[in-house]
Amino acid sequence: MNAIDPRIHQALDGELAPATLSGELRQAVERLVTAAALLATPIPAASLESRVMVLIRRPAPSRARRLLGWFVAPHAVTFRVRPVWSLAFAAVVALLTLFPMRHEGPDIGEHEGIAQFVGRFPGAQSVHAVGSFNDWRPGSIALEDVDQDGVWRATVVLPAGAYEYMFVVDGERWVPDRLAERLVADEFGRENSIVIVRPARR
């Protein structure tokens, strides 16, 4: 499409008298004016009055009926997309399909759950959780005091079930977890803590 002389627009917008234009420009203005006049020709058609008045004399359809009509009527859905965004979207979908994002944290099986161990042991050098989940062997579950505030924590994945356990502080002091859900006396006269691990996936 070629841009036309701005004076043609000015003449058509009534900002310039067509008589002041050169012959070629005036001819262009006349062509467009003639085209508009042709389009302005009345459309021969029967009057809509009776048709419209019959329709408006009918009671308006209820809201429910209009809603039902909307549901049963076909609707066209038009998407306007830029190819570059479509390709980018397709690329992201392909990447996510080929390389699924790995979530942070431990993988949890169908019959596993998460156990959290927390104990307050100011000044301790090491804290381990030992119990029936690791055959009471110190070392496998080490708690950490990341903030150096005396609060030691560990999060582990265990098979679902109930376990007895204790904390081993500095490799020699065995203490129960006072925050445990339950405490139970063992055959050595000590109090073991009970943790119930529930399956993470139901």
Binding site: N2, A3, A28, R31, V33, L39, P42, A45, L48, V52
Partner: protein, 182 residues
Amino acid sequence: MDVTRAPSDAEVVARVLSGDGEAFALVVRRYEAGLLRFAARMLGGRDAAADAVAESFVRAYRHLASCRDPARLRTWLYRIVANRCKSHLARRPIADVSLDEAPPVADPSDTAASLERAEQLALVRRALVRLSPEKREAFLLKHVEGLSYEEMAAVTGERIPTLKMRVHRAREALLQVLEEHE
């Protein structure tokens, strides 16, 4: 009150809203020709235009209370019809629009001048239908229906500079086609 004077749009609207539904026939008679022409040029066919305008009138009647400025009823009606036409065009691809629902038929009584005029009209209609609905709408409202840019803004909901640009682009496209067929 001067009983011989035709009631204004605002008066007719007030009568309809006060319960005189039959007064709406005045609105139909007053504006159907222009709206039908506008819709026919937008849609490229007389039958589709008649459906669109009739539906628009019914819609206007049912929502007449929401016409905020009854004195500008004409602009409001054009807005309803324009939206109806654009919805219709969105559902129906432009390639399906028939320009030849009522082709000019040569009649022995036709003069050469009338046939030439029919040919010219067909050429302009073909050029018009090649424009996007937005540009077609802008050209028709400005040059065929004679609306001001302010009225066009009320009809289309677009800003005046946008409408001016559309009218300019439509003129350029039409002129190009018309000059090619000189």
